[in-house]
């Protein structure tokens, strides 16, 4: 197993760990932040697998746009609570 394969495996394990952390977190706002970090880790996976176009798209979308939308929705839901 070459060093590159080991590195790929390491980043994939990191992604799996982040995903588990997102799922097992209780509080919604913390989950949104963790989703942003997970997007960052996915970007790392794409970079390591030599796909820079995908990494750029994933960085913009998964680390910034999607978590902000989630936080806005969470705020909306919390504001509705009595």
């Amino acid at each position: 197993m070459s060093p590159h394969d080991a590195f790929v495996g390491l980043t994939l394990l990191l992604a799996a760990g982040m995903a588990t952390a997102v799922v097992l977190t209780r509080r919604m706002r913390v989950q949104a932040i963790l989703m942003s970090v997970f997007g960052l880790v996915q970007t790392l996976v794409f970079v390591v697998l030599q796909a820079p176009d995908l990494a750029l798209a994933q960085l913009a979308v998964g680390s910034a746009a999607v978590p902000i939308l989630f936080v806005l929705v969470i705020n909306r839901l919390n504001a509705r609570k009595p």
Partner: protein, 254 residues
Amino acid sequence: MTRHLACLGVVGAFGTVLLIALLRLPAFGTALGPLAQFYVAHAVLDLHVTNVISAISYGYRGFDTMLEEFIFFASITSVSIILRNTLETNDEDEAAARGRPVVERSDAINLVGLIWIGLTVVLALSLIVHGQLTAGGGFQGGAILGTALLTVFLVTSRKTFERISPDVLVKVADSAGAGSFVVLGFIGAVAGVGFLGNFLPLGEAGSLLSGGVLWLINLAVAIEVSAGYALLFKEYLREVFDAESSDEAASAEG
């Protein structure tokens, strides 16, 4: 307990199948398939474009990308329709001012935000314009530009965000970007080179004005994606902040 066992069983089954598939994938660095070899060999020569991914997305498979852009356009339009609320648009200024608590923003955030937004916008524009040359392209640059616009909201206020992304401009840009893609295709069809065919001089591979119609498609996609993200954020912000206050008004009356 049985539900947990059932879940574990399903996860285990899928996991085993995926693991077997993963282990049987060809290793990194194996020879490219015939189609990939064709693309790599001909993208630079035929299309005068050095970013092979852009050549495939906007050139060889431009039709698929056009329909993907329509998926993006349709999803943002449907968000726009579903989140239509009863707040009149001439209340926007008041709503925009009301939507943010009066917080004294620290100088550090202002400074860092200003620098960061400036750099991000320059990076986005560079990625868009050099889409046919290096990694990046219309979609990536447009998404980063949309994110930069949202960061303006995060760092300053909703009022500033609404001022730099007026309703009419954003909606026109979104539609114009999506429509230009199709119009460029039809111009190619009318000019006799087929739908989305190239009808412009190709230029020299590696220079800025190369790729012909591919570069214009790149720009159209970038405009559409950045305007689409701006519209999406505007709709979400309107839903969160203005619907809140109309909820309060409704509960105060009722």
